[in-house]
Amino acid sequence: MANKEVRVLGAWPSPFVMRARIALNIKKLDYEFLQEQLGSKSELLLKSNPVHKKIPVLIHGDKPICESLVIVQYVDEVWSSGPSILPSDPYDRAIARFWAAYIDDKWFPSLSGIPRAQGEEAKMAAIQQVRDGLELLEDAFVKCSKGKPFFGGDSIGYLDIAFGCFLGWLRVTEKSNGVKLLDETKTPNLAKWAVRFCSDVAVKDVMPDTDKLAEFAKVLFAKFRAPPPSN
């Protein structure tokens, strides 16, 4: 369906890269997925994103677009005949953008804070922060979905993408720390939504397998002594 060449520079474990791929899948677009190697940055990446030198980058024809949420909005606007990703109402858009910013600025850093926490007390505090955030997102889900299956309504939208991309890393964190974060008793709507999201046709082929991701996390920690990607 793509009139011009569409390429994504990325890596399969990155939740930010996943956002771009889900958006392209929603629009049923073919694209070439060029994977970066851990620990090194390709010439193409450095040329396409000289400011941040980070993935994902969408290259449409010869034009690079950087920053995952900027990419998602770009895909939505260029391929406007496909299913809509952003809500149509300006207020709903503002709410979706607000929660996406919350997830990037506060929630995902709190998730990354769990493996970084030094000592039991700090770990418990970090875990509580993530759980508190999930309760806020549970409320947001109820308000945004208005009784429908996704934040975006009948089908996956901007906020589903912005949040759902982290489900793989959420599960890895649960497993490696022996703790339940997404709890169906505390956040029942989110728990059900998570299952729906992961099985959606636009998501299931790009959501990494939890065990595979856990293995990757071990390699990442060993190589860089650092927790999950924080771009």
Partner: protein, 219 residues
Amino acid sequence: MASHGVVLLNSWVSMFGMRVMIALKEKGVEYEYREENLTDKSQLLLEMNPIHKKIPVLIHNGKPVCESLIIVQYIDEVWNEKYPLLPSDPYQRAQARFWADYVDQKLYGALRKVLFTKGEEQEEAKEFVDVLKVLEGALGEMPYFGGEKFGYVDIALVTFYCWFYAYETLGGLNIEAECPKLIAWAKRCMERESVSKSLADPHKVYDFAVGLRKKFGVD
């Protein structure tokens, strides 16, 4: 709530709040301005922005919109009959969003470091100037970011201009010497009424910054 149901909760010194003021003025939107005391936040603010408890908050017909760039996009989309703030071409829009996000990611943090830490001012000053130089590069030879028309990225960045005097005085720097094109751009923006009426007086900002430094024990 008066003024056609548009209220802005703000603090006069916030470069983020100024962005919203510029956008509202560009669109000719009448609104009620409410100054918040950030050391004693109003019930309304806590109710309208319970997650972050921060200004600016735009309240439109009783419903809150938070986060300055989100508010600016909201204003652009609701009052869409005149003066579009974002370009119409999707690629240009993506570029605008990228650069506005860059300002948020890099500039505020760098500015805070210089103003509110003591000791490594020289290093922090360099980081701040480096960010400004990248932005100057993005501006290139154009009158405004993105081209001939004043828009989204200009709004995102120009509000920092009234903080430059405080920064230069406290950080020991001459920004115009380092980034002359950027200063020329800022002065060009100041010729617009929406900007000159929204930006705070740099000397008052400086006094405020000095006060904050004393409060946090920096000086």
